[in-house]
């Protein structure tokens, strides 16, 4: 069955490697130039570490003018849908293609029960997607490293590509698409039917629930912000100049200001707890979809009627 799975999915595996290679080429080119600019603008030195950004405004401004839009906005916009696309493209055809070509009668009439056939395929393909997700995360994390020094990793458009969540997004889209493929029995409609709820859940979790995973903290606004108009809010898309931040610490996710010069925020060190919570949500959705698929396939009649 391992050979059968590999033979049926090797085309997809090669396509995924091509996507990863393209991402790596882009990341190396853009990331290298970002690194050298980061050093030459005087940001890599002691300025950031010592002052939390105060006094580095010129360097930060020049760096952000050059890279901020591309790295924080354009890349985010494209990469937002990529995990979903990968997941539905791989998952949508896994069962539906057997229906479209009638090969389920062949596949399920060999001596391997169909539930085991599905379990082996799902296990191996899921493993492949985890490897892919981890590799993409590693590439993006390396690429963004200089930018992350300025923005921290709690900002929405950073959080989405680092740590665990990218892989979890892929798995969730994959699970939805496999289930849709069993129910709809046509690859393309299954992919569409899986992608739409995936994107909806993905955006709702990001913009409605994520900021509230743990109760926000409140702190007094940094003294430097009383006199300066440009304190970073850090909500949504990272502004051109985020430093100094209104909490006074790089990397905090500022949610809003409150009367009396207070700000509510999620501290930078909640990155990993938040990653586990969000990844957990999407992995649970994926597991529910895949579990339902196996149960339905075991119980349901053949597809002749």
């Amino acid at each position: 069955m391992i050979w059968v799975t590999w033979r049926q999915h090797r085309g997809q595996a090669i396509a995924c490697l091509a996507v990863l290679a393209a991402l790596a080429v882009y990341a190396i080119i853009e990331g290298t130039s970002m690194r050298s600019a980061f050093s030459s603008d005087g940001l890599a030195g002691s300025c950031l570490a010592r002052t939390q950004g105060i006094g580095c405004e010129n360097g930060i401004g020049a760096f952000m003018d050059k890279f901020g839009t591309v790295v924080n906005i354009s890349f985010w916009s494209v990469a937002l849908i990529v995990p979903g696309l990968i997941g539905v493209l791989v998952g949508g055809s896994l069962i539906a293609r057997e229906s479209e070509y009638g090969t389920w009668r062949l596949a399920w009439s060999q001596s391997v029960p169909r539930a085991r056939w599905l379990a082996v395929k799902l296990g191996l393909v899921t493993g492949g997607l985890i490897v892919l997700g981890a590799a993409m995360t590693a590439v993006i994390t390396w690429y963004r490293a200089p930018m992350d020094r300025l923005t921290g990793r709690m900002q929405h458009n950073v959080f989405d590509f680092e740590g665990l969540v990218l892989t979890a997004y892929i798995l969730c889209a994959f699970g939805f698409a496999v289930l849709a493929g069993l129910l709809i029995r046509r690859s393309i409609p299954a992919m569409i039917a899986a992608f739409i709820p995936w994107l909806a859940i993905r955006l709702i979790v990001e913009f409605v629930f994520r900021d509230q995973f743990l109760a926000p903290l409140t702190t007094a606004m940094a003294a430097s912000c009383h006199t300066q108009a440009g304190c970073g809010s850090g909500i949504g898309v990272v502004p051109q100049s985020v430093l100094p931040q209104s909490t006074g610490r790089i990397g905090d996710l500022v949610l809003g200001s409150k009367p009396g010069n207070l700000v509510s925020y999620q501290p930078a060190d909640r990155f990993w707890p938040f990653q586990f919570i969000e990844a957990g949500i999407f992995v649970a959705l994926a597991a529910a979809a895949l579990g339902a698929t196996i149960l339905l396939l075991r119980r349901r009649a053949a597809w002749s009627a």
């Binding site: 069955m1 062949l106 399920w108 009439s109 060999q110 391997v112």
Partner: protein, 324 residues
């Protein structure tokens, strides 16, 4: 395969009151039949008669709503390895993976079947002149059918089920495919169950006949016995049904002006002595095709020329009477 000895009395296939419902509609109901070991059985019926439903329950793809199937004495349980391994299956339109080569298909067969016979598979496509490196999508329909049959044979299952194996093939490929099935049946002690709505394809190779229509078994038994138990009468048009011997299965009235007559397919048997010719009557043996067509029409059009009392008494042809 010696454990499936014909003398042991265990049939290759037995269905008992088998039924399958799709929503509110019964695809097959109250199906009881047996096929003995070594038989080449034809399953005949119009499209939508329930043939594929019956076959899918036999091979373990479909779970019966009621009743059960047993293959060589062991009850089939849908989707279990034991049941799947006992039956080789060539599905309608012989599906294969289009981007696989023949060698890939055999690799799959080997990976998914514990008793796979790679030598047999390779020797068979070799004899047919199909290269192992050829992709499925570049093969003709006839070659794809042959690769499907090869995979079913190499599975080394004692019962082979072929669902409409030639319906998508051209006449030459049909002939060659059926000739190969016949050769396999002669060379081995395999039991075959072949469904088709093309009667002429089956006549030459089948020694067991099952007629299915409207989700019910109309007739089942050894071909020779069934042919001997039916006759074709040509009688004057006004002969009442009550005067006909045996049980009238199907009656065709001819309005030819020169000789207004009826042709009647009748079933006779142990309790119903064979028809003897009377003046003005003609009694003929029935052919395979006439027998099948008679039963298929019997089920589709009620015999309006019978008097109602006679029609009510007429027993519905049931499987059990003809199963030996």
């Amino acid at each position: 395969m010696t454990e499936h000895d014909a003398g042991s009395g265990v049939p290759a296939l037995r269905a008992e009151r088998l039924g399958r419902r799709y929503g509110k509609v019964w695809g097959l109901r109250d199906c009881t039949l047996e096929v003995p070991v070594g038989a080449v059985a034809a399953l005949v019926g119009p499209n939508g008669a329930g043939k594929t439903t019956l076959l899918e329950m036999i091979i373990g793809l479909l779970k019966p709503t009621e009743g059960q199937v047993s293959v060589f004495g062991e009850t089939s349980r849908a989707g279990t390895a034991g049941t799947l391994a006992r039956v080789g299956y060539v599905a309608q339109d012989h599906p294969l993976y289009r981007d696989f080569t023949v060698a890939d298909m055999f690799h799959l067969g080997h990976a998914m079947n514990p008793s796979w016979d790679q030598k047999l598979a390779v020797a068979r496509v070799d004899a047919l002149g199909i290269p192992l490196k050829r992709k499925v999508k570049s093969m003709s329909g006839g070659q794809q059918a042959q690769v499907s049959l090869t995979m079913a044979l190499a599975k080394r299952a004692p019962l082979l089920v072929l669902d409409e194996p030639v319906s998508s093939l051209d006449p030459v490929a049909r002939l060659e495919f059926m000739r190969d099935v016949m050769a396999s049946a002669a060379d081995t002690d395999l039991t075959f169950l072949i469904s088709s709505h093309v009667v002429s394809e089956l006549e030459r190779i089948c020694d067991w006949l099952i007629i299915l229509a409207n989700g019910h078994v109309q007739l089942a038994g050894p071909t020779d016995g069934l042919l001997a138990a039916h006759q074709l009468l040509t009688v004057p048009r006004d002969t009442p049904g009550a005067e006909l011997p045996g049980t009238a299965i199907h009656r065709t009235d001819s309005d030819s002006p020169s000789y207004r007559h009826s042709t009647v397919l009748v079933r006779t048997g142990a309790d119903q002595p064979a028809a003897r010719s009377r003046p003005g009557w003609q009694v003929d043996p029935v052919s395979f095709e006439q027998l099948v067509l008679g039963y298929l029409q019997h089920q589709s059009t009620p015999m309006t020329h019978d008097d109602p009392a006679q029609a009510a008494q007429r027993p519905r042809p049931s499987t059990k009477e003809f199963t030996r």
